[in-house]
């Protein structure tokens, strides 16, 4: 097996263990690592008398990336004994390292995430290089896992139960070195690689006989153990706080992390390791970790890696972007472009209106400076790249234009017509429309091949997704340029084909219709919100509808209605109309919608909704409430695949999670179908049941099962479905 750890003993007796997996771009906790670490420890123990200390570092640009995800995603119940053995080996060797009787220093030269940080935690001293992209943390929870190489056990003993849970384990936060120092998971931060090794050697020289705090006779767990009265009194609130923070979504990983931490804090170190292993294997062999690894590692990598980008096209990079409209979206897009080093010209009807884009950027930059995320000079440079204007000729030379004006096809065509003459030849023409078909808008320009949809999400600075919409006549070059521009400004671009509402707006519409429809049919509004939140949606549908604004929802629906003969009126539509037209409750911006708002803060649900509640509505099973929303979206996503609006399942999964809040635990809207109990067949059976109870819209496509079985899914994921 490949050796992934180099062993070099210097004249001073200091052994440098260099993590350097020759088969991987980054070090991971694979079988080769386990074997190599065992060998390294064997040698360290054998040569102990000649060894004065150990430095653990990496030859890669990162220190160590984490777990062996391709292997983990395939884990089944049958693998439990093998998993236990590997984890035991990894933990045993890290334990041997920290009890070697020689000072061990982690020289963390780059990102140390998951298993990487766990290796460092088994060292006596951690020094992190302040590299710009370096991140430290235990992000396992974000993949449905827990840190099982001693990470839970050691952070709890190092920081105390409450601090370890809230600052490291449950958030999964990827920290900059300075933040990691503040939290206490590293001991020093240095500026240069030379300093890193010098400090490591100096610490070894100054601490010839170190031990871990938990191995000292006077060790006390910070904040006490569950047996101590003060912590025991707080303990009942830990699970409640978690459930409050997760809004009732019963995610196995955070619950297992909490259990591991608390149970482990009551026993000795070795037993705590065992408890940790048991809980991790439970997560590894379960479905949700597979869903999350599938989406957040594999799918995300594929999307960001350009799986949807045409290859072999000449796609000159965009340098100067024109943004039309300085509303919230336009301003957000302008800021994103300027932050990524692009020159931006924002045009609106008056200088004042255009100036809002600059003010928006100033606000966001001031916050970044305040938080130490940017310097004053950085902020000035970004602002310097933003020009705001009411004049068309100021857009001269822009090689891309992103239109973000009011959602009116006539207006949009008009602003394109106005600016086209001054743009650079062949400039990319993009519309940020959220629903209007691109092919139709492209009719307004004489270069439809250069016309494309670039649908950003609000707030642009925080929402990572970009939905690129390919019109009937959009060229591959335009797509490649839009994709590259999206990546340049740090977005995750999915690529979909044209259609009213494209993928995201269309599918989220099914979610809102279903939820509002449940209220209309007599289900208590609070139950609808709870059902969504407990299903894992980040925001309740009624709160979301208020945020989008009921007026906008009404307008978009009327556009759909006008555009399609097959439009089916729903009870939800009637309720939205009543709220807007009869009760003057247009949404959050006006301070009244499904909810009441006090000074912008969401208050209680409008009491008028209580009059809609019926006994039949109260009797709808809670699981049905949840699955009606999930299925409404999943079934429409399947139709999008069918109709060719969606090009790939990967884009559907990533788009649904990052764009429209489909529950993360599912790993995305199509993976939800695949992972449903019983697989696609189980999903189809349940859909048929929902259709029977709640209407034909739940009738699954006839060939659903065959189609999903035939189409490609990540090979690792199917193992867990059965």
């Amino acid at each position: 097996m490949t050796n992934t750890i180099r062993y070099d003993r210097g004249a001073d007796g200091i052994v440098t263990l260099t993590l350097d997996d020759p088969d991987q771009s980054a070090n991971i906790m694979n079988q080769a690592y386990a074997t190599s670490m065992s060998a390294a420890l064997d040698r360290l123990e054998a040569e102990r008398d000649e060894v004065t200390g150990v430095v653990v570092t990496s030859a890669k640009s990162t220190f160590f990336a984490g777990g062996d995800l391709p292997r983990m995603i395939r884990a089944t119940r049958a693998d439990a004994p093998e998993l236990a053995e590997v984890l035991d080996t990894i933990k045993r060797d890290l334990r041997r390292l920290e009890t070697l009787g020689r000072p061990v220093v982690a020289a963390i030269n780059g990102s140390a995430l998951g298993g990487g940080l766990e290796i460092a935690l088994a060292c006596h001293h951690r020094i992190a290089l302040d590299a710009p992209d370096s991140r430290l943390g235990l992000p396992e929870v974000t993949l449905g896992l827990l840190p099982g190489a001693g990470g839970v056990t050691r952070t709890v003993r190092m920081l105390g139960l409450a601090a370890a849970l809230t600052t490291v384990l449950l958030t999964g936060r990827r920290m900059r070195p300075a933040d990691a120092l503040a939290v206490g998971i590293v001991d020093e931060v240095v500026a240069t690689p030379t300093e890193l090794l010098d400090r490591a050697r100096a610490w070894i020289a100054a601490n010839p006989h170190p031990s871990q705090p938990w191995d000292r006779p006077d060790y006390r767990m910070p904040g006490g153990t569950p047996a101590s009265r003060s912590l025991a009194a707080q303990l009942p609130a830990f699970p409640a706080t978690l459930r409050k923070q997760l809004k009732g979504a019963r995610l196995p990983a955070p619950e297992a992390i909490l259990a591991t931490a608390v149970e482990g804090a009551q026993v000795d170190l070795e037993t705590a390791f065992t408890v940790e292993t048991r809980h991790l294997i439970g997560l590894l062999t379960g479905q949700i970790a597979k869903n999350m690894i599938g989406a957040f590692f594999f799918d995300l990598k594929a999307v960001n890696g350009g799986a949807a980008r045409p290859t072999d096209v000449h796609a000159p990079p965009v340098r100067r972007v024109a943004v039309l409209g300085a509303g919230m979206m336009g301003a957000g897009i302008a800021y994103a472009c300027a932050s990524a080093g692009l020159d931006v010209v924002v045009r609106d009807v008056t200088p004042e209106a255009a100036g809002r884009a600059r003010e928006h950027a100033e606000r966001l930059l001031a916050r970044r400076v305040r938080k130490g995320r940017a310097t004053e000079a950085d902020a000035r440079a970004v602002l310097g790249r933003i020009t705001t204007t009411d004049r068309v000729d100021a857009l001269a030379g822009c090689d891309a234009v992103i239109e973000a004006v009011f959602e009116d096809p006539t207006l949009k065509k008009a602003v394109f017509a106005e600016v086209l003459p001054v743009l650079a030849p062949g400039a990319l023409l993009a519309s940020n429309t959220s629903t209007l078909p691109i092919t139709g808008l492209a009719e307004g320009v004489d270069r439809p091949a250069d016309f494309i949809g670039m649908h950003f999400f609000s707030p642009v600075d925080r929402m990572p997704l970009l939905e690129i919409v390919v019109g009937a006549r959009t060229s591959d070059t335009a797509l490649a340029r839009a994709f590259d521009l999206g990546r340049r400004i740090g977005k995750t671009p999915i690529v979909v084909n044209d259609g009213r509402g494209f993928f995201t707006s269309r599918v989220i519409g099914r979610f809102l219709d279903e939820a509002v429809g449940m209220v209309a049919e007599g289900v208590p509004a609070a139950s609808v919100e709870q059902a969504a939140l407990q299903a894992g949606y980040p925001t309740g549908p009624l709160a979301l509808a208020d945020e989008v604004s009921l007026t906008l929802i009404q307008r978009i629906r009327r556009q759909f209605e006008d555009a399609s003969e097959e439009f089916l009126p729903l009870p939800a539509h009637r309720l939205v109309d009543e709220l807007v037209d009869a009760y003057d409750r247009p949404g959050r911006a006006e301070g009244r919608g499904f909810y009441s708002y006090d000074d912008g803060a969401r208050g209680r649900l409008w009491p008028g909704l209580a009059d809609l509640v019926t006994d039949a509505g109260r009797a709808v099973p809670f699981t049905d409430l949840q699955e009606r929303m999930l299925f409404a979206e999943a079934l429409d996503a399947l139709r999008c695949l069918d109709e060719g609006v969606l090009r790939t399942e990967t884009d559907a999964n990533i788009g649904s999670i990052f764009g429209i809040g489909f529950p993360a635990w599912t790993g995305g809207v199509i993976r939800y179908v695949r992972q449903y109990a019983g697989g696609p067949a189980g999903f189809a059976a349940r859909a048929a049941e929902l259709a029977d109870r709640y209407g034909d819209r739940f009738t699954p496509p006839a060939d659903l099962v065959d189609r999903l079985a035939a189409s490609a899914a990540h090979p690792g994921e199917l193992a867990g479905v059965a």
Binding site: A232, P236, P239, A240, T241, A531, Q534, R604
Partner: protein, 404 residues
């Protein structure tokens, strides 16, 4: 040979305020029990302790000086013969009644003939909850059971039932008024045994928790006890995730309409007809039936409703056959819900007040209520009573008594 189970006598200590300024704070829990054993022997000269078989004590926080099976230690310290056993049991707030019911069942089995059952809780000395337990401190269990503290459950019940702050305060006021009248009228005189020190000096002779000067206005001034806990610690969210049709919990309970934290003990002498005849003990009441029932653990405090139905069914009786109800006033809303669900006449429920005025010494209360009910049946010359308590974890225990 199987026999009916009879109550020959029932005694209790006065309830002392459950804090370090309370009169019983200086008295060890074991001393409270021993004092009652002494009193029973004194009151019943015919009681041949050689016939006693076991001492059953309900204790809810059986740690420290209440731990290690206090019942056995108390039996020995009281000088009962070696063959008298001792067992501590815990059904949370109904532990005292659980001890009585267990004793009654053992008498009815015919295997045993004379038992002492009751309970003790020195809440000022052994804080409630200090025994931990998986339900409140093991995350896996807490998450799976949607654990919330009882006060949140009580407020949840009030919200679900639509009981307003005014409703629950009104009930609390009535508890105070009835308790004051009962003390003034000597209604507790037969059961209450003063707590004295080793020198024979009185430590406490009356319940010290009641506030007879309570008014609607003084109650209205009290701040809700569980609002901050519900919000800050996330317990409201847990409750609402389960009772999802509610948007918020109306926190109506406070120190003035919840049971008081107190110290106290109670004992009931229970035996067969035969032992009564042999020792010349006069049966005061018969334990007709008893039942336990679980209920929703998050709602927690509604268990007495199914438990009462179950106990009545076992006795072949209905609510209409019951003259008096003693329902432990854990929280005002819990009593109001019981009264509403069973369709009871409020004038037959807790006629001498309850734990809101008098206090709730956790492990002892159930046994105290047996004495209160038997005394009142005799005083009013009535026939039957139901004694019931709501219980942590979502349970209820109920006992049907019939005067002899």
């Amino acid at each position: 040979m199987p026999s009916e189970a009879y109550v020959f006598d029932a005694v209790r200590t006065p309830r002392g305020r459950g804090r370090d300024t309370g009169s019983l704070h200086g008295v060890k829990p074991i001393s409270l029990v021993v004092g009652l054993i002494d009193a029973l022997r004194e009151r019943n000269p015919g009681l041949d302790v050689g016939r006693l078989e076991d001492l059953l004590l309900g204790i809810v926080t059986p740690v420290g000086e209440q731990g290690g099976n206090l019942a056995r230690a108390a039996a020995l310290l009281a000088g009962l013969p070696d063959q008298v056993g001792g067992v501590q049991l815990n059904r949370f707030c109904a532990s005292g009644l659980e001890a009585v019911n267990t004793a009654a069942a053992r008498i009815r089995s015919g295997w045993e003939h004379l038992l002492l059952a009751g309970g003790v809780e020195s809440m000022s000395r052994v804080p409630m909850g200090s025994d931990g337990g998986a339900w409140i401190s093991d995350p896996q269990t807490t998450l799976a059971t949607s654990f919330v503290p009882q006060g949140i459950s009580a407020d949840l019940i009030a919200t679900l039932e639509g009981f307003t702050r005014d409703d629950v305060d009104g009930y609390a006021l009535r508890s105070q008024e009835r308790a004051a009248k009962a003390w003034a009228g000597g209604h507790f005189a037969r059961s209450v045994v003063p707590v004295r020190d080793d020198n024979g000096l009185d430590i406490l002779t009356v319940d010290e928790h009641p506030r007879p000067d309570t008014t609607r206005e003084t109650l209205a001034r009290l701040t809700p006890s569980f609002a901050a806990l519900g919000e800050a610690a996330g317990f409201d969210a847990v409750a609402l995730q389960k009772f999802h049709w509610l948007e918020a919990i109306d926190h109506v309970h406070h120190a003035g309409n919840s049971s008081g934290i107190v110290d106290g003990a109670a004992l009931v002498l229970i035996g067969s007809e035969q032992v009564g005849q042999d020792l010349g003990l006069t049966p005061r009441a018969r334990i007709v039936s008893a039942a336990v029932s679980g209920a929703d653990p998050t709602l927690m405090l509604t268990g007495p409703i199914p438990a009462t139905h179950k106990a009545l069914a076992a006795a072949g009786l209905t609510v209409a056959d019951i003259d008096l109800f003693e329902f432990n006033e854990a929280f005002a809303a819990v009593v109001l819900k019981y009264v509403r669900d069973l369709g009871l006449d409020p004038d037959r429920v807790n006629v001498n007040g309850g734990a809101i005025a008098l206090g709730h010494p956790l492990g002892a209360t159930g046994a105290m209520l047996i004495g209160t009910a038997v005394d009142e049946l005799e005083r009013r010359d009535l026939r039957r009573a139901v004694v019931t308590l709501c219980i942590g974890g979502g349970m209820g225990v109920a006992t049907v008594l019939e005067r002899c």
